[in-house]
């Protein structure tokens, strides 16, 4: 084939004549049927898969040999895969004389039309079809197709629509993880690459947002302690407004949308406006930031469970044993008061505490002490948010504890 123009055909209700009853024919006939074509199969015998299609009533079967061009009457497309070169060449010639496109599956060199390798990939905006053609080399075409399909699935490509949607837009609440690009999920990444609008706050992984094309609108609703931020009701409103305009909206949050992230409110607001919402969990800072400091929140023989609470509200009564790990988010400003509360509740003043600032950043810093000493230590070292506070024996498993003990600090 000297020229290779790819075309997308709408076969709905159009007749396709397939000559041959083997597996190649069966595979292609199935694809034609899936596209809504009316298919007539001409072959003295059919393989099991084709027989199933006949039994389903999906295709018409004429159980005989191919005769001549009259067998192709009314066809928009012809497919031949008999495997006897005399017959296949004749079908191709007859189609040619009728000026009907013919796929000769038995001869890649001379066929007038070819079926490319194909994959249907579901991206946030629905199904897309990827097809590749490699000058008659099906193996190479398949490899290229898989590469593009993989890249689309992982979000390595710009997946935004460039035409207006005919349907309404969508909202996805994506957990961005603790702030490192690599800890975003594959699904989150794919959604980001499909979004027209990205709504972020200061804890979302910003590097990945900065690398999005300039035409993606980024709305910063960031909350910096002590500074004005967009109130939650207004954030909800922005999500609804943008999606209602037919846009794809990603609300990218730090950590997980449902761990003290108010994702539930955002979802309910969007659903109340009749919008579909996808929630993509993220790597929560409550677990991953301690891990980054070498502290597992559970550990056999050391901690049997953990509780995550916000440190800027009243601390509920919790198991007081140091084998129950307590993780406090947003708790730096009230650290001393919180420690006093924990002691009043019965937790030992000697229970180890770690404060991990700027988890995963190059400037990550861990301060260790005990329930009774951590408040003063944190003040001395100028500890500030964002930070994750871990209380419990698991703190002893991290490298900072051993160093602190060796240095006699605690």
């Amino acid at each position: 084939m000297k020229s290779a123009l790819p075309l997308v055909l709408d076969l709905t209700g159009r007749l396709v004549v397939a000559v041959g009853g083997g597996p190649v024919s069966a595979r292609r006939v199935r694809a034609f049927v899936d596209e809504g074509a009316a298919v007539r199969v001409i072959s003295p015998w059919v393989c099991e898969d084709l027989r199933d299609l006949v039994l389903e009533g999906a295709v018409e079967w004429q159980a005989r040999d191919y005769v001549d061009a009259t067998d192709l009457d009314g066809a928009w497309l012809v497919h031949t895969a008999v495997g006897e070169s005399g017959v296949d060449r004749q079908v191709a010639r007859d189609a040619e004389s009728l000026r009907v496109w013919c796929v000769d599956a038995t001869d890649a060199a001379t066929t007038a039309a070819s079926v490319p390798a194909r994959a249907d990939v579901t991206i946030p905006d629905g199904r897309v079809t990827i097809s590749t053609y490699a000058a008659g080399d099906p193996g190479l075409a398949t490899s290229l197709r898989d590469g593009v399909a993989d890249a689309a699935t992982r979000g390595d490509l710009d997946l935004r629509r460039t035409r207006h949607r005919t349907t309404s837009g969508w909202v996805a609440l994506v957990g961005g993880g603790p702030g490192v690009d690599g800890l975003l999920t594959a699904r989150g990444h794919q959604l980001l690459r499909s979004a027209d609008v990205v709504v972020v706050d200061r804890l979302a992984p910003r590097a990945i947002v900065d690398r999005l094309p300039a035409s993606v609108r980024v709305i910063d609703v960031g909350k910096t302690p002590g500074h004005h931020a967009v109130p939650q009701w207004r954030i909800n409103e922005i999500l609804v407004e943008e999606a209602s305009r037919g846009l794809g909206v990603v609300r990218l949050k730090g950590g997980d949308p449902y761990v003290l992230g108010r994702g539930g409110e955002e979802r309910l607001a969007c659903e109340a406006a009749g919008l579909s919402v996808e929630v993509v969990p993220g790597v929560t800072s409550a677990v991953s930031v301690p891990a980054a400091a070498g502290i597992p929140v559970t550990h056999r023989g050391v901690a049997r469970g953990f509780t995550v609470v916000t440190g800027h509200e009243a601390i509920p009564g919790l198991p007081t044993g140091s084998d129950h790990t307590l993780v406090l988010l947003m708790g730096v400003s009230q650290l001393s008061e919180t420690m006093t509360t924990l002691v009043a509740q019965g937790r030992s003043a000697d229970c180890p505490v770690a404060v991990v600032e700027r988890g995963f950043a190059p400037t990550q810093r861990t301060t260790v002490g005990t329930v009774s000493t951590i408040g003063a230590l944190a003040r001395e070292r100028g500890v500030e948010s964002p930070a994750v506070i871990v209380v419990g024996d698991v703190v002893r498993l991290g490298p900072e504890w051993s160093e602190a003990v060796a240095g006699g600090v605690s």
């Binding site: 999920t185 990444h189 997980d256 953990f306």
Partner: protein, 329 residues
């Protein structure tokens, strides 16, 4: 693996077990196929992850299936063994998140793509194994509840031995390695042996399983905290060290992992310790898989409801006001 055909509703037979059988089966199940696996003569040859799928009723095992009775037959390729590496190996502990291939992190995927060896168990997102290189060795150390198991010490030893051969070893687990994942022990074992170890956090099922069922573990005006415990030892058992009373009174959302079998005892204990009998509760089974199911009931009826609905492990139990959310979905 790529599937060119839609296998929805079709019967598929897998003969022989390839190293990536788990990934193949998960791709087939996701596509809606009815999967049968040829049972090997020696049941010990069956990877525990595959046996587990059979015990959960998601696939069928047959000793001598008739291949012509199936729409599609997939023959397993012989497993290959990676070359010995030169120089120092490394171990990467990867949290794979719930069994949804989209919920593994980019770093986790990248680690898998350069793995010489992947060590996984039955709760790992098996579909993600397809990202391992063709020649990678896949070692299944899966544990089945109350059945035979690979002791943790043996898993630690496998990680160390493989890395000492100069290989890049990925330890792939479901959820997060540090949330009841024994990742701390594995990291310690590697460090003791002088093996470099990296931790790639994952999405913990304790948060994601409820989320996928539409249940936020925290929700403004309802609850501002959650507690995660393991339920594998029932309250009252001499091995139990959990303070169920404090948990019952904490007012936080309670998330219980590995707690289906002990749910009747746990619910009774929580009510006895003062948690209201009508507290909303939910059990989410097979989170992230096509077979995911959620049941909801008040705390005093949740165990019976889950049993009646045939909910089995792996499942995550959520107790608290948030378990009643998702009325709109």
């Amino acid at each position: 693996m790529s599937l060119d055909l839609s296998l929805t509703g079709r019967s598929v037979l897998l003969t022989g077990i390839a190293h990536d059988a788990g990934a193949t089966i998960h791709a087939l199940l996701r596509d809606g196929a009815h999967v049968t696996v040829t049972a090997p003569a020696d049941p010990a040859d069956l990877p525990t992850s595959v046996r587990d799928l059979a015990e959960r009723g998601l696939i069928e095992l047959r000793a001598e299936p008739e291949p012509t009775a199936y729409d599609v037959v997939i023959r397993a390729a012989r497993a290959t063994v990676p070359a010995e590496g030169s120089g120092a190996g490394e171990v990467i502990l990867v949290g794979g998140g719930p069994s949804d291939a989209g919920l593994i992190t980019i770093q986790g995927l990248e680690a898998l793509q350069r793995a010489d060896v992947v060590v996984h168990d039955r709760l790992a997102p098996l579909a993600a194994l397809a990202h391992a290189p063709e020649g990678a060795e896949i070692i299944d150390v899966g544990k089945i509840p109350r059945g035979e198991f690979t002791p943790q010490e043996r898993i630690n030893a496998i990680l160390v031995e493989q890395a000492q051969r100069g290989r890049t070893v990925v330890r792939l687990k479901g959820g997060d390695n540090f949330v009841f994942g024994r990742g701390g022990e594995e990291a310690q074992a590697c460090r003791t042996a002088g093996i470099p170890v990296t931790v790639v956090p994952g999405i913990t099922s304790s948060v994601a399983a409820p989320a996928l069922a539409g249940i936020p573990v925290t929700h403004r005006d309802l609850v501002q905290g959650f507690s995660v415990v393991s339920g594998h030892v029932p309250p009252g058992d001499p091995r139990s060290t959990l303070d169920w009373g404090a948990l019952a009174r904490s007012g936080t959302t309670l998330v219980i992992l590995m707690g289906v079998a002990t749910l009747p005892a746990v619910a009774t204990e929580l009510i006895a310790q003062g948690l209201a009998a009508d507290t909303p509760a939910a059990v989410v089974a097979d989170a992230g898989m096509a077979s995911m199911r959620t049941v909801r009931a008040p705390l005093d009826a949740i165990a019976e409801t889950a049993a009646r609905e045939g909910i089995g492990a792996p499942a995550v139990v959520v107790i608290g006001a948030v378990a009643a959310l998702d009325v709109l979905a």
